[in-house]
């Protein structure tokens, strides 16, 4: 079967590709239903008066979060991590990536916005950087743990 252009953005592994397509289709289907109900309520029952900007942001956030969550919990991000040694190595790599992000974010911020003039400005840089680094680590770790557990179940008996 001839593949669509979207195949360029999908994983090469057949199972992973199919799972991603399912997650994307689920997200679009749910979003379609939500927008349909929104229209019905807005037109027939009560004027919700949500600005187009808000709806667009909601749609983008919903699509990306749903696909990301399904992908993470499916345990397909690290399909080849089967040994404890590789698991620990990858966990370390995720930790290092989060640390690198924690270091790069303030530097990029200073380059673009300039040095902060007060402590509040410093906190405005460090706070989001720490939160984002924690999120990156937690997300990566969860995905790794799910993948490792799934891979263990599939090993040779």
């Amino acid at each position: 079967m001839e593949k669509s252009w979207i195949a360029t953005f999908l994983p090469k592994d057949e199972y992973k590709e199919r799972k991603m397509l399912y997650f994307m289709a689920e997200a679009v289907f749910i979003l379609f239903a939500l927008l349909f109900f929104y229209l019905i309520i807005d037109l027939l029952i009560i004027d919700l008066d949500i600005p187009a900007f808000g709806l667009a942001i909601f749609a983008l956030l919903f699509l990306s979060s749903y696909i990301l969550l399904r992908y993470t919990f499916a345990g397909i991000e690290y399909p080849d991590i089967t040994t404890k040694k590789r698991y620990k190595k990858e966990k370390k790599a995720i930790f290092m990536r989060s640390l690198i992000y924690l270091a790069i974010y303030p530097i990029a911020y200073i380059i673009i916005q300039g040095f902060p003039t007060d402590w509040e400005g410093v906190l405005d840089i460090i706070g989001p950087a720490i939160l984002a680094a924690i999120f990156l680590f937690a997300w990566g770790y969860l995905s790794l743990k799910k993948s490792y557990k799934k891979n263990q179940e599939l090993l040779d008996d």
């Binding site: 199972y15 399909p79 089967t82 599939l154 040779d156």
Partner: protein, 64 residues
């Protein structure tokens, strides 16, 4: 779908990782196929059969 891939693979002395690498998928995918938790495409079935020197019938046909 039940199959005899694991048996054929061990006869060939291949690991899951080696078979995965030969047919261009991940080890996880091979594990899922062997456990009957994922039905591969015909293209992948043929690739696996060729790698293991078996026919599709040998690997996938269910005897009554």
């Amino acid at each position: 779908m039940n199959n005899r891939i694991k048996l054929a693979r061990t006869e060939k002395s291949l690991t899951q990782a080696q078979l995965a690498s030969k047919v261009g998928v991940t080890r996880q995918t091979v594990g899922l196929i062997e456990k009957g938790r994922y039905n591969p495409s015909l293209q992948l079935c043929i690739a696996i059969a060729k790698t293991l020197d078996k026919t599709l019938d040998d690997l996938f046909w269910e005897e009554n």
